[in-house]
Amino acid sequence: MASTDQDSSNSLRLTPLHGLHCASGARMVPFAGYDMPVQYEGILAEHLHTRTHAGLFDVSHMGQAFLSGPQARARFETLVPGDLANLAQDRIRYTQLLDAQGAILDDLMVTACAPDANGDERLFLVVNAARKAHDFALIAAALPDLTLDILEDRALLALQGPEAASVLAGLLPEVATQPFMSMRRFELGGVTLFVSRSGYTGEDGFELSVEAPEAERLAQTLLADARVKLIGLGARDSLRLEAGLCLYGHDIDETTTPVEADLLWSMSKRRRAEGGFPGAAIVQEQIASGARRRRVGLALEGKAPAREGADIVDMHGAPVGRVTSGGFAPSLGRPIAMGYVDASHAAPGTPLQLLVRGKPLSAHVTAMPFVPTRYYRGQ
């Protein structure tokens, strides 16, 4: 049996919750330069716990920053295709940093915050761990007129699941009715929290930005509730795959555009028409004429999973694409995958074959999410 785990390196960075992970029996693995928990009791149990109760994830490895200055929204719109001009205060937008070819350099969450002390516009950014150095360097270089304040001293916890809101409302009653994709600032026992109603599981839930020295105390307070368990990166990956959400470096990267990645929903009508972001002409051409290939969901007929890298062929064996994420879906009890296929094979229901260890596995294109999302939509 060949292990696929990589050797841990002694140069790995630690999050403020590292001690808690080790004390909680986590199996630690290197991820994006950090020593991170891949699982505690087991991926299946953790996944299903998050879908039925509430899971607590350490996502402190992700990058957090404030970007502020005159016209910060309009200035940042020159780097991303998301609509920030029309983003109401305290609301969150999912968007992507693009390159001159319209390819995706990272995906990120952008929150429109209250103006800074100078009365200038201010945005709160959360970017992927593996891309944060790249992203922040790019933003600082492209927008030298703005101030980029990288929040190295803040941890990030995610509380996700159908019981997340009632758990967190026990500490902060106002979050019960906080809108999906909004952020609020709270003081809890003298600690400032940024609470975003968002996540990466398809469930209702929150991301909690907290000062690093206070992170473990907050985590322990949440874990004192019997409905909450620590959840590792393994279940985070299977949960996001079921929700049809992209993982940067796998489902989206510098070779894919938002149109190919089926992320057009994250681009407003105004931004599609006006452009004004990197690679706009290419993206607009793909919107008008259709992209050559598309990210699609794949349902497998059998029990064997197909993993990232598996070739996708049509019923005659001709290559039409490649799997970018795949595995067993614990909530469904069967394998699922996503990948890119030629536009001619992207319609839901299209039968395809995934080549795994040289054998074709029967599959068909299916709409995503694989498991219905349960975001908070108001009372």
Binding site: M1, V38, G42, A45, G234, K303, P330, P335, R357
Partner: protein
Amino acid sequence: MSETRYTKDHEYIRLEGDIATIGITDFAQKQLGDVVYVELPEAGLAFVKGAQAAVVESVKAASEVYAPVSGDVTEVNSALEGAPAIVNEDPAGAGWFMKMRIHDASEFNDLMDEAAYQAFVQSCC
């Protein structure tokens, strides 16, 4: 009377006469986590030592299982098809993968015995 040997890939081989029962160790199933699929060879196939004979898939990843000795597959554990979690629950018993008629007893004798394997497991984590 059976005798059990182990490989560095965390497989066990329990030999009775010239029939070897092959599976993965408790250490291996713990490392893998929840097993969701096992791909087994067809009975009748012959494998040389070190050839890929099976694949075990956890939620996280696929891992190859190599033939620990040369031989012919006489039987595979078809119960794993419908209930792969047996590998986690009882790896040394009901969670066996396949039985092989071994070609060369010296290949078996060269593998680690229980004491050597336990020492090996201690050294690798």
